[in-house]
Structures are given as structure tokens and as C-alpha cells.
């Protein structure tokens, strides 16, 4: 889920997480669709960025993550359960870049 700076918010985006003040009170619920008036409300709250629904891309290139995955599983090659876990993580990482 990407965190979008307030100045890049557009109408139609949906909040990925509830928007709360510092004491944890919910100001806008998760899933709220942004309108122009809601965006200006968020601007007035003084927050820098908010979570928006949808996938976010990791900061590192996919190849780095997949290489690191291979290294972490270097010693468990013959174990069928570990192979299944590794396959699930590999697919999970690949899905983050789609």
C-alpha cells in the first residue's frame, strides 16, 4: 500500500488506512473516497502523507530481493516444506512488482 504525499492526492483515491490524530481518534475511515473538500481537509490537518489503497512498489530492484532470498535459503535445499515456503515468498515478491 503506497504512502502518498498530500500534494499528490487526487480525487477518487481511497484511503488505505484510517486517518487518525495523534491520540488515535479516527478522523476519516479506511476506504474513504477522496473528494476535493476531503483533500483540503487533509491538507489543513497538517499531515505530510497518507496511505492510499493499492499495491506499492518496494524501493529495491526485484533482482536484489530475489538474490537475497536465494542466500537466505542456501542451506535448506533438500527440504520439501522449506521449498514450498521459498516458492510462496518468491511469488509474493514477484507479485509486488506487477
Amino acid at each position: 500500500m503506497p504512502k502518498i504525499p498530500v500534494e499528490q492526492l487526487k480525487t477518487g483515491m481511497k484511503l488505505g488506512r484510517p486517518l487518525m490524530n495523534s491520540s488515535g481518534m479516527v478522523l476519516m475511515a479506511e476506504g474513504t473516497e477522496l473528494t476535493e473538500s476531503r483533500i483540503s481537509k487533509i491538507e489543513n490537518m497538517g499531515v505530510d502523507s497518507v496511505f492510499i489503497d493499492g499495491p506499492s512498489r518496494p524501493a529495491k530492484p526485484k533482482e536484489d530481493l530475489l538474490d537475497a532470498l536465494e542466500r537466505r535459503f542456501a542451506k535448506t535445499a533438500g527440504n520439501p516444506q522449506m521449498s514450498l515456503i521459498k516458492k510462496a515468498v518468491r511469488e509474493h515478491i514477484e507479485a509486488m512488482y506487477e
Binding site: M1, K3, R17, P18, M20, S22, S23, G24, M25, V26, E30, F51, S56, L65, A68, L69, R71, R72, F73, A74, K75, T76, N79, Q81, M82, L84, I85, K86, K87, A88, V89, E91, H92, A95, M96
Partner: protein, 279 residues
């Protein structure tokens, strides 16, 4: 340093209040929590004297990943909803978080990840109280923090040895201290009068097959630990993913699709949790 006597180590750990390198907030909290007759009022009173602690605990329980977003306004209210034991565990976690980050970079992220994965797994398995498993996940590696605070140089050597010899941190700890972070955390959980099931999860997260009171819960924390290491979130002293225990694997009976679902929920929640707890 030659191998330590495990009994002497246990006595030292159980008297952490006497160790100069343990931060005072942890000592005070430990003293409060070890009283088996501690009441809700005493806990609330202690917490309310420390505004930073109050803010942190309310932030944690009100976080979306905890399931009560924005609804819990006081420590009293939190105890009513979550129970004294969960609040005790959360209090310890939030006071240990800061120290955790300094003790081993990445351990806090790892612990939050394991807590979230434990909770997701607990919900998947239909457990009625996923919060307790969440707490077990948060605290499962607290023994590493205690060991680094007590023996900073020796623990540093332990971490380096694990890396250079390609062994797990668990085995390296055994070489250096005769005992492991799991045992240390287990002794403390008993001293803090955590529920027996919670103690078992923490103490046996590397050997889930020996848990008798909470075999499912222990299998969950064990599996969560493996999954978070497999995904490479945070750092717990291990560069390699440990093998999942066959009995725990069987207990949980997860298919590949389940693993993918858990990883996805984990990814989303960790991202948010990092934002919330980084301050």
C-alpha cells in the same frame, strides 16, 4: 569468556533489577509486573505517571493492525477490552522497543513482523484470542535484548560467530552462554507471571514440539518466525532461514495459497506499523 553456568545465568536474569546496564523504565515495569496480585488500578497508575508510555501504549492498541482503530481512549479501557495479561505484555513490548532498536538493528521490525504474522495465523486457525499470540510474537525475542544489555561484548561476539560460522544465532548463543534467548525470555515470562500458555509460546518458539499446554499457539509463533525470516523483514541475528519444525508444520496444515495470503497481509501491516512505531 568460558561457558557460563546456566543456573548462575538464570539467577542473574531473574534479578535484572540489580543490573546497572538495564534501563530504569524496564526495571520499574519489571518490578510492577512481577507482583502476582497487581491490580488494574496499579497498572493504570504506573502508566499514567509516564505520558510517553501512555501515548505509546494507546498508539499500539489503536493501531489499525491491532483491530480497534481509534476506539481505545485510556489504559483502563484497554485493560477491559484486552485483559490485564495482554496489556502487561504490550507495556513491556513498547518499553523494550526503543532498547531493542539500539541493541540489534532490525530486531524491532522482525518482532513486529512476527507479532503480525502470528495474529494472522491465529485468525486463520480460528483462535479466540489472537491478541495473546500477537503479544507472544512481540516478545518472542526479548531474551536477545536482555542478553545484549547484560553482556554487550559477549553477545556481539555471538552474533558475529553466527554469521562467520554459518550457524543459527540460537546455536551460537548456546556456545557462548550455555543457554539461549528463548530460555532467558521463558524465565522472565514466568517471573512476570504471564499466563502459562504465553510462557510456553515464548520459551519454545524454536522447539514447538515440546509445548503441551499451547501446542497450536507455539506452532503459530514458530511458523511466524520462519515466515518473517523467509521474507527477510528486519534482522534477528540470523542470515539463514531456519528449517520449519515438521510437527509444527503438520499442526498448522498450511497450503501454498495460505502462505501467500499471510505474506500479503504481513507486508501491508508491517509497512504501516513501521510508520507508527518508528518515533
Amino acid at each position: 569468556m568460558s561457558k557460563m553456568d546456566p543456573k548462575a545465568l538464570r539467577i542473574r536474569v531473574e534479578n535484572i533489577s540489580n543490573i546497572p546496564t538495564i534501563p530504569s523504565v524496564l526495571k520499574q515495569l519489571s518490578t510492577i509486573i512481577e507482583n502476582p496480585k497487581i491490580s488494574l488500578n496499579e497498572i493504570s497508575h504506573f502508566v499514567s505517571k509516564d505520558p510517553a508510555l501512555t501515548t505509546k501504549i494507546l498508539q499500539m492498541v489503536n493501531s489499525a493492525l491491532y483491530g480497534f482503530p481509534g476506539r481505545i481512549s485510556s489504559v483502563n479501557h484497554a485493560v477491559m477490552l484486552l485483559g490485564l495479561n495482554v496489556v502487561k505484555g504490550l507495556l513491556l513490548s513498547v518499553s523494550v522497543f526503543e532498547i531493542m532498536h539500539k541493541a540489534m538493528i532490525g530486531l524491532r521490525e522482525h518482532s513486529i513482523g512476527v507479532a503480525i504474522a502470528s495474529k494472522v495465523l491465529a485468525q486463520k486457525k480460528g483462535l479466540k484470542e489472537p491478541e495473546e499470540v500477537f503479544v507472544a510474537g512481540l516478545l518472542h525475542d526479548v531474551g536477545k535484548v536482555i542478553l545484549t544489555l547484560m553482556y554487550p561484548e559477549e553477545y556481539d561476539k555471538t552474533v558475529k560467530e553466527a554469521e562467520s560460522a554459518g550457524i543459527s544465532i540460537f546455536d551460537a548463543e548456546r556456545n557462548h552462554f550455555s543457554e539461549t534467548h528463548a530460555a532467558v525470555a521463558g524465565w522472565l515470562s514466568e517471573k512476570w507471571h504471564f499466563p502459562k500458555k504465553l510462557c510456553e509460546c515464548i520459551e519454545n518458539h524454536h522447539r514447538p514440539q515440546v509445548s503441551t499446554l499451547a501446542p497450536l499457539e507455539t506452532a503459530i509463533v514458530h511458523m511466524a518466525d520462519v515466515l518473517v525470516k523467509a521474507r527477510g523483514l528486519g534482522f534477528s541475528g540470523d542470515n539463514l532461514v531456519p528449517e520449519v519444525n515438521p510437527k509444527a508444520w503438520e499442526t498448522l496444515g498450511l497450503a501454498e495459497a495460505d502462505l501467500r495470503e499471510i505474506l500479503k497481509e504481513l507486508e501491508d501491516s508491517v509497512e504501516q506499523a513501521e510508520e507508527e512505531f518508528k518515533s
